[in-house]
Symmetry: C2
Subunit: 640 residues, 2 copies
Amino acid sequence: MTMTSAAALRREPLPLTAVTIDDEFWAPRRELIRTRTLRHQEGQLRRPGQQFDALSLTWRPGDPDEPHIFWESDVAKWIEAASYCLATTDDPELDRAVDEAIELLAGAQQDDGYLNVYFTVVKPGERFTDLRDAHELYCAGHLIEAGVAHFEATGKTRLLDIVRRYADLIDTVFSPDGPRAGGYCGHQEIELALVRLYRATGERRYLDLGRRFIDWRGEQPYYFETELRHRGTPGYFGTRLPRKPGDLRRFREYNQSHLPAADQAEAVGHSVRAMYMYSAMTDLAGEYDDDRLLQAVRRLWADVTGKKLYITGGLGSDPSIEGFGPAYDLPDAHGYAETCAAIGLVQWARRMSNLTGDGHYVDTLERALYNGVLSGASADGTRYFYGNPLAGDGTVTRQEWFDCACCPPNLARLLSELGRYVYAQGPGEAVVNLYVAGTARFAFAGGEVTLRQDTAYPREGRLAITVTHADDGAEFALAVRIPGWSRQPAVTVNGEPVHRPDLRDGYCTLSRRWRAGDVVEIDLGMEVRRTWAHPAVAATAGKVALERGPIVFCLEGVDHDCAVHSLVLARDAPVHVVPDERTGVVTLSAEATADDGTDGSLYGDRPPARRGVTMTAVPYFSWANRGLTDMTVWIRDGRE
Amino acid sequence: MTMTSAAALRREPLPLTAVTIDDEFWAPRRELIRTRTLRHQEGQLRRPGQQFDALSLTWRPGDPDEPHIFWESDVAKWIEAASYCLATTDDPELDRAVDEAIELLAGAQQDDGYLNVYFTVVKPGERFTDLRDAHELYCAGHLIEAGVAHFEATGKTRLLDIVRRYADLIDTVFSPDGPRAGGYCGHQEIELALVRLYRATGERRYLDLGRRFIDWRGEQPYYFETELRHRGTPGYFGTRLPRKPGDLRRFREYNQSHLPAADQAEAVGHSVRAMYMYSAMTDLAGEYDDDRLLQAVRRLWADVTGKKLYITGGLGSDPSIEGFGPAYDLPDAHGYAETCAAIGLVQWARRMSNLTGDGHYVDTLERALYNGVLSGASADGTRYFYGNPLAGDGTVTRQEWFDCACCPPNLARLLSELGRYVYAQGPGEAVVNLYVAGTARFAFAGGEVTLRQDTAYPREGRLAITVTHADDGAEFALAVRIPGWSRQPAVTVNGEPVHRPDLRDGYCTLSRRWRAGDVVEIDLGMEVRRTWAHPAVAATAGKVALERGPIVFCLEGVDHDCAVHSLVLARDAPVHVVPDERTGVVTLSAEATADDGTDGSLYGDRPPARRGVTMTAVPYFSWANRGLTDMTVWIRDGRE
């Protein structure tokens, strides 16, 4: 894969309307999103004095319920997730509710295209004066994504037109010689949104605007410091300019504006901001065929996945900034691993994979999706984790969704949009990235192809891909990702083994003239794996984790009569797979040992006695659904 | 020890003037306090617009440098520590500086006895309206302690008279039918101060006032909630009344006002507040011969030392409240273990020991003193730790003392007052609690006795106690504490072995008619010990700590070519003692193994290789004096 041809080889996700998902794992969760989560979210938005009411612009100083700076993004994320559902599911009630919300947005839009309640009724005259903190462009970005999503799902342009007018205004304000030239947002988001707007409309100036935001970031003089000095008042969150060098460095790193984007090499600061920015950089690297940006995101990817990634795909070990800690600093109980950051990683990984054609990026995507993302929601979809620790002492529990403002909407968006992660299409290539039962329709120049995927993944590692329709002349390469943990995948085409499959860049690529009825079967193998972390990581020293397929496992106290940190799994102890109805995948079982009670004193001169116990491991995503319980992903690794 | 006779058997510390300390370990540190720390602290107080200036009461609204609510306590703690120095050391300059400060305090005292700059010039008319947050009685308590200390050290009554007038006012305001009846302070301190004032003056009403403060605490309706509602405005720190039950519980527990003191059984909330309160409760249990209070402090002691104590004597695993976490929750890198909390434990332990005559309390005192307290200061006495973690990743460093407002003054007070911890006197008993070379003068009814202690403790475990003077008829019991880790102490009197020494309640008690020249020699034995924690503690599972005598050891990265968390110490690996000039005690050395590098990936399917390394352990108190370094107290316990 030469870098200069990256853009030419770029793959694209399929449109949502071209994908169906009818599996046993994701489909029920997606239905829960549509029928429960989005309804709850709508209820939140409709509460008196809240987001929908605020769009009426009738609030006046002194009234209760001062509108929040985030409210447009709440509405936008709901519309976006709802749109993804509407792309594939008939739901007239939801459709109407979305149209209603769009009308409210239309009513709140100013004549010049501006759309932001806070800076219209609370602080008029202060537009774009606190880019660092006030989330103005952040909200605009989410509105733009909603407009694009709604258009692509329903064909309606009402919201798309609204956000285009807003984007046009922003383009003027942030033109190279405009009044806010050099400025960018303190919470990255609009950059990737503008790429989507460009791709949906074909208007290049939106792409160029996104590019400018990335290019200006990190240039000196630092925009947020100039802005702060110029304004003379603290920022929206009380921000003042730090004086000590260390504090100033952290001030800049928090929103990744410490260096020009193309020069960045280490993931620092707030994790979600970083993920959205790296996603945009990846998009732009492809759109502009920009080597420097591509090298930057490769470096950043290596830093994240090589030194800062939890085994669950979680990111962010420092709760105080909801962001990255130092390399190899991955505390298990006291880290953060925000659900939204894992979702951001999924979004970035898809872009990296589609840009480079390398399936190993999807391995990481999958690691996050099936573990650190999914653990963010309770089994019944009504409670959420902000942070996803790798160990818990029995006091952590998910919160009712309305306490957790960002995770439900982000989970809703991701799961509703899942079809765009399962497949991709390149020039003459049908790509299967994730193993999810359903169908996919590829429109090649030579004709259409429809594939049917059948699998019980992640419970089993076997999949069957059937070509259910292939127009004449549909010669294409079928590229099926083979995960790194699959050592010797067994591949057959129409029952015939493929003895030396083409396994490059993380894919099994089969090129032929395909016919309807052709079946490719792949057995990935799915043995239980023991996994160890790099010795530089303190939290995992002397410990081992259990994985099977994409699933990372953990121990829960509720399955044991001792604290989970007491358990030791001997290196050679066999680990058995047990089908599990509760989680829909499997649990693991092994004979282990546990520290036994002592004389009760806190410190003493005798090591604890040991006894044999049966150890049960469950999928990490399923933890904390059976009441309060201690938990650990990393298990003491022993030899006795 | 029957409970009803506790008061009768109570021991008392010796006056500071009766003790000299000339050892190699503490004397240099005490000299550093007097010549450096107290001078620095004085410089802080003298800065323009700061504490001393504020006492002139010339500040007006609009002026810079608004006086802080804590400033009286800063001045008071400095005076107190200085007084302890003046008790045993001639220092005319310091003496003058203290007198000068006392005159400033005199000048700030109001006609009715009130003494608090903030509520005199910043918020006049708001006295005693925010007992929970504004630290008014806390400052008064420290002033009282300073007045008592100054009087006992110098015989001068100037400050004592000032604080008596203030205490009289407080007694009126908080009389049982006074305007603030039922109220108490949000930061316990005045309770123990009033006990000292009573003991110094003989005025019982001060004791009764302290008793009332303890008795009112935790009664319903909860005073701080009534106060908040009545005032209608948030507290000094923005405090509002929480609504959720969990938050309300934590609101009350923070300052241990959730239950009546005598009913409390678990250590919760802010650690330093707790320590000051439990100290006062112990004092009051003795003064009132109060069984219920005594049982309460015994329960609390059992909870703290049985479930919430770090092996270093540190307390407080929850940084968010600078206080106690759940039982057995003792995270090593992310805990807190505030230096001031360990100091508070030392203060409480002395009271428990003197009240009950049980030396095991002094074992805990010693554990804190030689580890979690001492680690609070750098070797040169100029930098301080707020928190004292049991593991560090190489980024923690002590701060210049002037950034850390509470630790230097508290360390200064403790070390300057050390003489009151080394010895105690009971009816017919001379008690040696700590092994510190120097002299002690006991005034018994029958005459005076002077002892000379010689020892190189904590470097060695041998001590010699010589009766250097004994008035005729001086028949007394010499009770020397024998620590719990000393299995078979060898005791001789005048060279003759004592074959079956009386070893009850943690003391070796020798009763005879003593003569000048009599020498008691005790060899405590001081082998290296391996220590394991209760299996309920997650942070220490599979780990071991090394101790020798009172010293807890740790590993520092600077002594190894690998991360300290990589090291494994086999159960049967011999550990050697190495004399060490740098720390003045010893280091330990053993052959261990370490995880070796891998292929560099963050997660992989192979355990790390192992190699042999020489492991060096240093005293915990001495860590972080050789540049940034990773560190761990708890070492991976292995069998290879």
